[in-house]
Symmetry: C2
Subunit: 226 residues, 2 copies
DNA sequence: TGATGTGAACCCATTCACAGCC
DNA sequence: GGCTGTGAATGGGTTCACATCA
């Protein structure tokens, strides 16, 4: 026990750390050595108090009157997020999306390795996707163990997403990234995050509609072609 | 004025409405006529009070002692989100991602039409992607006007994302869905939503690391192979 | 009776404002 | 002097619990 007392960091703050991290890596590429909370806030599109509060959860890594050392802060955030180690992921579903994800090197980037790709379709098993041979989904539990896989990506059609989640959970995987347009039912201890373009578009639709109504437009069902 | 008094609906509630909508459409496909807040909550993975509160922002559409009429509630949520009309979107960037988005019919679904695809690369202009001819990004403002486009999707490489956003804003587009791993700087009135797999994975990494530490593991940089 | 709709209580997140330190 | 770090104040969102009504 007592590796680190590990203060509880609010979920909202955690979700912003990767944003700061990305900005810091850009700054490092530009050989900027130090950054203030004001600058970082500007670049991250949030306010400075939030940046300072978020960073203060990690510890006191800044220098009063000066700012934060870019490299040091990068290291600390990576450490906090667990990005100083490699995580093995499995992609469930070797269709279009699964293949795209496995091949898109820019997405599965430093720190994440596609250790396995599985599918329930026997005709796909054995083909090569993103540098690994596709295995049958029944082998998942065994693969997860032997390859130390902790994160699963669901890239199946909607109707198979829940079954995919069940298999992942049974294989002992605790974190799931869900690309299927489906609400997954999983034990409370499992973390699920969702990537869903349709949802995002529908939310934007709302704000566009508000804008339209504010302008006084009255789009009675179908906007006229004139 | 006074199209609808339009009460302010909390952002958090808005972001859940598309989830309810999707569940309702599944229920409708299964020919379920009524649903209670308890059932809906279970299917949406939230608690029942939240469902009732969210829905109450739209009006009193349920029946006490009974529940909600699936079709009627669907209609009301669609209406609230502006999904009873068609939105035209432009995709900026005709590379791999842009092409995938334009072609993936399941993503650009009912209510959204890919009215234009633009790119800054002249060699791509004129090719056909997702049923439309790619136009040069300089034509965007003109296209936005003539085709009544309100939503832009950024599918460019990171280094061009801000320029893409600038062009969209200048063209009068008020809502942006950003697939590039970049924080966009836009006027406050513009709504931006982000789809970013790498960010999501990094957040999951954090929770896996917490789990690992809770188990007492001590993965000193590289986990040993034993 | 049973489920909605909603004020009130609670809780988490954001922002303020300034003490503390370089 | 300037910027961090952080208690305190504020605000928004969630949950509770019950009055209300079919």
């Amino acid at each position: 026990m007592a590796t680190t007392p590990r203060r509880r960091i609010p979920e909202a703050a955690i979700s912003r750390l990767p944003v700061y991290l990305r900005i810091l890596s850009e700054l490092e590429a530009e050989e900027v050595a130090r950054v203030s909370s004001d600058e970082l806030a500007e670049l991250a599109g949030v306010n400075a108090a939030k940046v300072r509060k978020d960073l203060s959860y990690l510890g006191s890594f800044g220098t009063r009157g000066v700012g934060y050392e870019v490299k040091f802060l990068t290291y600390q955030i990576q450490r906090e997020l667990g990005l100083n180690q490699t995580w093995n992921v499995v992609i469930v579903g070797a269709g279009n999306l699964g293949q795209a994800l496995a091949n898109y090197g820019g997405i599965i980037q430093r720190g994440f390795t596609v250790a396995a790709v599985v599918d329930n379709d026997h005709s796909k098993v054995g083909t090569e996707v993103g540098g690994v041979r596709v295995r049958h989904v029944e082998e998942l539990a065994q693969l997860a163990q032997s390859k130390d896989i902790n994160i699963g990506i669901i890239a199946t059609p909607a109707q198979h997403a829940q079954a995919a989640a069940d298999v992942l959970v049974k294989a002992g995987i605790g974190s799931i990234l869900n690309f299927a347009p489906t609400v997954l039912s999983v034990p409370r201890s499992v973390h699920v995050r969702k990537v869903d373009m349709a949802l995002e578009l529908q939310i934007l639709s709302y704000y566009e509609q508000v804008r339209r109504q504010a302008r006084g437009d009255n789009p009675s069902e179908q906007p006229a072609s004139a």
